[in-house]
Each structure stands twice: as C-alpha cells, then as structure tokens.
C-alpha cells in the first residue's frame, strides 16, 4: 500500500525534482532551491503530508555547492515519509522558510541556523535556540574544530 502512495507522490512531484527514488522506505526528492516552497505546498495541501518532522543540513565540504539541506515530512493519513533535499552554496546558504506552512518550522529552522548557518528566507526569528547569543561560528560545519573555544560573553545581570 505504502509503495503505491509513494509512486503517486513521486509522479505528481517529478516535474519539479531533479531526481526521485525510494530508499529504505522513504521517497527521496532532490530539488532546486527555488522549487522547495511550491513542492511543500502541494505536499501539504494535495498529498496529505501534514506533519513536518525535521529540517537539518549536511556539510559536504569540500564539494560545491557545499550544503545539502534536508527536510522530512510524514503523512498521518498514508503513514509514509518523504525526504526533500536541496543544495545551497557556501557563499549564499539561504533557502525558503516553511514557517507559512508549518508552525513547527520555527524552532527547527532556528536549530539548523545555529548549527550550520543556513538562512531561512521568511523566518524573521532566527535567534539561537540551542546555542546562546555571542556564540561565534556554526559548530556542525566540518571546518569548525571540535576543540574550539568560545569568547567569554559579558556577564549579564
């Protein structure tokens, strides 16, 4: 059953994607960055993917474009998952925010911004969520050394 639904989703979204395939039971679509918002809008309104699970990034340094941003969605109706991936360059690591579609995007995009410095166009609140104001750098980037020390932040009273 699940395979039939994934085929339907893949067929519906294939024109926007540069590649599509099923891996470990999840439909994986690779998109150009500008196709993200229209594809997610269709996923949510037409195809029933009502749960936004996760957004994160993968740092493929030294490849270019360097960052791969990865989203996961789940359909509570069909019980299947979809993964969207897009590549953004180091010079301009910005993708569209999903905040207009899912409230859950707020915290998860803040975390991704913390960790990788990915910008989310349309999300005005990208304050640090797991890190703190004054943290220098993005710790999950591959060029951030694990032992790096941070400057002391001024005492707040």
């Amino acid at each position: 059953m699940a395979a039939g639904i994934l085929d339907r989703v893949a067929e519906a979204l294939a024109p926007d994607a540069t590649s599509a395939g099923v891996a470990h039971g999840i439909l994986v679509l690779t998109l150009p960055p500008e196709a993200l918002l229209p594809v997610v809008r269709r996923l949510k309104s037409e195809l029933g993917f009502d749960l936004f699970l996760d957004v994160t990034a993968v740092d493929w340094m030294p490849q270019a474009p360097r960052f791969e941003v990865v989203w996961h969605f789940y359909s509570t109706q069909h019980h299947v998952r979809v993964r969207l991936k897009t590549r953004v360059p180091e010079a301009d690591p910005v993708v569209d925010s999903l905040l207009p579609l899912y409230g859950a995007a707020s915290f998860m995009e803040r975390e991704c911004h913390d960790m990788y410095g990915i910008g989310f166009r349309g999300n005005a609140d990208l304050r640090p969520v797991l890190l703190y104001e004054g943290f220098v750098g993005h710790p999950l980037r591959k060029d951030y050394p694990k032992e790096q020390e941070q400057p002391l932040v001024p005492y707040r009273s």
């Binding site: 891996a23 749960l51 993968v58 509570t76 915290f107 609140d125 304050r127 797991l130 694990k146």
Partner: protein, 405 residues
C-alpha cells in the same frame, strides 16, 4: 515604566504588550519545574499573556561529538538522549544503522527488543506521571509510582548492569541474553505495578483538586498539535490515534494485540490519562511477548559489526584481528543515508544518519520529540494561569537530554 527584562538573554519580547503587565523570568533552574528550561512570560495579573521558551541549557554538542566516534561508540551517547527510556534510544539507533548495513536481526532479538522497549516506555510514563503528580502535591501517588519504578530500575540493572543508562543495544543484536529467572521476576513486578497503579487511579482520577488543576488546562487541538509537529501522547490526547507502533509497525509490533488510547480534548487531564492507559497497554504487550519470546541466538552472525566470542579472541588470530578492527576502526557502514523512527514515550524519535562508507558517521541527526514539543509549548501555556505552567510543563514531559542534545 521600566521595560527592560530582568534577564536580557535572548528575549523574544522586551517591550510590554500593555502598560499594566509584568514580564517575569522563570528558570532555567526552577525548583517547581523539571527540566532545565527558561520561560519568559508576560503576565496580566496571574494570567499568562504570552511566553517565550528557551531550551538549550543542556546542549553538549551530541551531534558534533558523534562525527568523531565510531558507529559502535555512539551507543552510550544515544542512551543519554532520553535518559528515562534509554533502551528505546538504543534500539532506534541500532535499527537505523542496521538498515544502512542491510542486517536483519534474529527473531529472539526482535522480540527481546520489543519487550524491553515496552518496559522502557512503562518506566518513562511512570516517571512522567509521578513527577507531574508530585508537582501538584500528590506525594503518596508519587511514592507509589516511584517505588514501582525503582523495582524496574533494579530489575533492568540485573539484565544490563546499569540502572538508567544501559548501553544494552548492539548493532546487530543486544549486549547479553536474559539472566535466569529474569522473566519470573518481571511477572511479579507487573503484578505489583497493577496493584499500585490501581491505588493511584483511586487517589487522583476523581479527586476534585486534581481535576480542577488538570481539566481544561493546557488545552491544545489536533490541528494546532499537527501544525507544531507534535507526536506521541500529546497528539493522542487531542483525540488523534496516531502511533508509529500501529501505523508503521517495526520490531514485533505487527504481531501484537494492543489499543491506542486517545483523549477527548487535549488538556492536562487527557495527557495524564493517555499515559496511564498506555502503561496498561505496555503491560498487556509485555505479557504477550513473554509467551512469544523464541529461543535462539541474540546476535546476527555478521563479522562486520558483531564482536567475536571472547574465548575465540584469546585463542585464535582471526578473531583477535576481527575484534581489533571492529573496536578500532568501527563497523564499516555502507555509504548512504537513512531516516528511521521509533515511537518513543514522548513521540517520534527519528535518527537521520549519513554514512560515507567509513567506520565513523558523516552525520548523525536526532529528531527529538522533546525539542519539537518545546517549539509549540507556548500554545499550551498562553492564556492560562501562571501556576498552570507547572502541571502543563510536567505533562509535556520535556527531557533536557534529548531536547538540547
């Protein structure tokens, strides 16, 4: 009027919405809340107008640390995500790695993992309900539940050697088989559990004070819960029967008979009751699993990840080299990426792993339910009383270990 916050760390709002309100800072270390989290709230009298929630005080670079250790080394780390139900983290992580390696675990291991997952869920829900009740002053109910939980901790220690963080999962199996008499003692504990949970039901379910504090407090609708990515007991308390154990069965759940309890209006009382009912279902499943548990090996026979027998390591060179390579280089996981999710006591616990074919992961990302729940927690706090923050926050069951990673 002074408009600056007493604590200026990352405020979402530093101006008052109206000129007769007060902005207060709660936490990050507050005796009445469990979990290290800071809440900045704007109050109109005792009513909460809006809140801004700041997790991250337990951030310890889990995902960064994972990138410099072997796949095998990560097992103790994932234990410390949701440290109240460490076994579920273990098994969810191991299953994700096994998917990448194309390993199918043995039948005995599959049933054993299912049994222990349910045991862990029971412990987690007991802790959550007990702590929530204690915060409302129900000390007797707390002690009843925590006493049972301690029997379970000791019982799990007899199997794994540790009370809380077990490090019991292994890629391709589990650390060791059940000791003699372990299942007999489990049956005794489950009987005692039923006795004491029955008493807790009698103490609080129809207690006027409890109902007044819990009913219609911290309400959330199914639509809002889905919008904010909620899963697990909080989503189910709104009436949506969404449970990964039923919807996308993994381990041995497809062969078990169980119900998915749901609430009616998504308030604190429903979250309490959904957890209590889920514990009963877990016990029901564990009793089925005890009868189903087959004999046989607990580990797959796969030299890529499973350590050879100790006596062979000491007597033959091939096993010694095998042991050395698995420990020093780590299991070689084929290149690829996988997202694997288990129904943890708090909701969907997903592991997104990226491998480049090395013994060390390229990336490990945890979809932690507690973190996602913090993103929408203001929806359950705003509009209610200041004192309601304590029971509502307790019923969300935020676990700092997995929220902040």
């Amino acid at each position: 009027m002074e408009t600056r916050l007493p604590n200026t760390v990352r405020p979402a709002f530093d101006a008052h919405e109206r000129d007769d309100t007060v902005i207060v800072n709660i936490g990050p270390s507050h005796p009445a809340t469990h979990g290290t989290v800071q809440i900045i709230a704007e109050l109109d009298g005792e009513r909460v107008l809006r809140t801004d929630i700041h997790p991250g005080y337990l951030h310890r670079g889990f995902e960064k640390e994972c990138e410099s250790h072997t796949w095998h080394n990560l097992i103790p780390y994932v234990d410390r995500l949701n440290y109240v139900s460490a076994l579920i983290n273990d098994f969810a992580y191991c299953e994700a790695v096994e998917k990448l390696m194309g390993i199918e675990i043995t039948p005995r291991c599959r049933y054993l993992r299912t049994l222990l997952s349910e045991y862990s869920r029971l412990v987690d829900h007991l802790t959550c309900v007990a702590a929530g009740l204690m915060e409302l002053g129900a000390m007797t109910a707390f002690l009843y539940l925590v006493m049972i939980r301690d029997f379970m901790y000791e019982h799990l220690a007899a199997l794994t050697g540790a009370r809380v963080t077990y490090t019991y999962g292994r890629i391709g199996g589990v650390a060791r088989d059940l000791p003699d008499g372990w299942l007999t003692r489990l049956k005794e504990i489950l009987t005692q559990y039923e006795d004491f949970v029955g008493r807790v039901h009698g103490l609080v379910d129809r207690n006027r004070i409890f109902i007044d504090r819990m009913r219609d407090v911290g309400t959330i609708t199914t639509a809002v819960a889905l919008d904010y990515g909620y899963t697990g007991p909080i989503l189910r308390s709104t009436g949506a029967p969404r449970d990964l154990r039923k919807d996308t069965p993994y381990l041995a759940y497809a062969e078990l008979d169980f119900d998915v309890p749901v609430g009616i209006k998504g308030d604190n009382y429903d979250r309490y009751f959904v957890r209590m009912r889920e514990m009963d279902e877990s016990v029901y499943m564990m009793r089925q699993l005890m009868d189903m548990l087959p004999a046989g090996p607990i580990n797959v026979d796969d030299r890529r990840c499973v350590l050879p027998e100790k006596d062979l390591v000491y007597t033959e060179i091939e096993s010694l080299i095998n042991h050395f390579k698995v420990i020093m280089d780590g299991p070689k996981v084929p290149a690829g990426e996988v997202y694997s999710a288990h129904e943890s006591p708090n909701g969907e616990l997903g592991f997104y792993l990226v491998s480049t074919g090395e013994g060390v992961p390229w990336k490990v990302h945890v979809r932690a339910p507690s973190f996602v729940h913090m993103g929408g927690a203001h929806k359950m706090l705003d509009g209610f009383q200041l004192a309601d923050i304590v029971p509502t926050f307790g019923s969300i069951n935020m676990i700092g270990g997995e929220c902040d990673r």
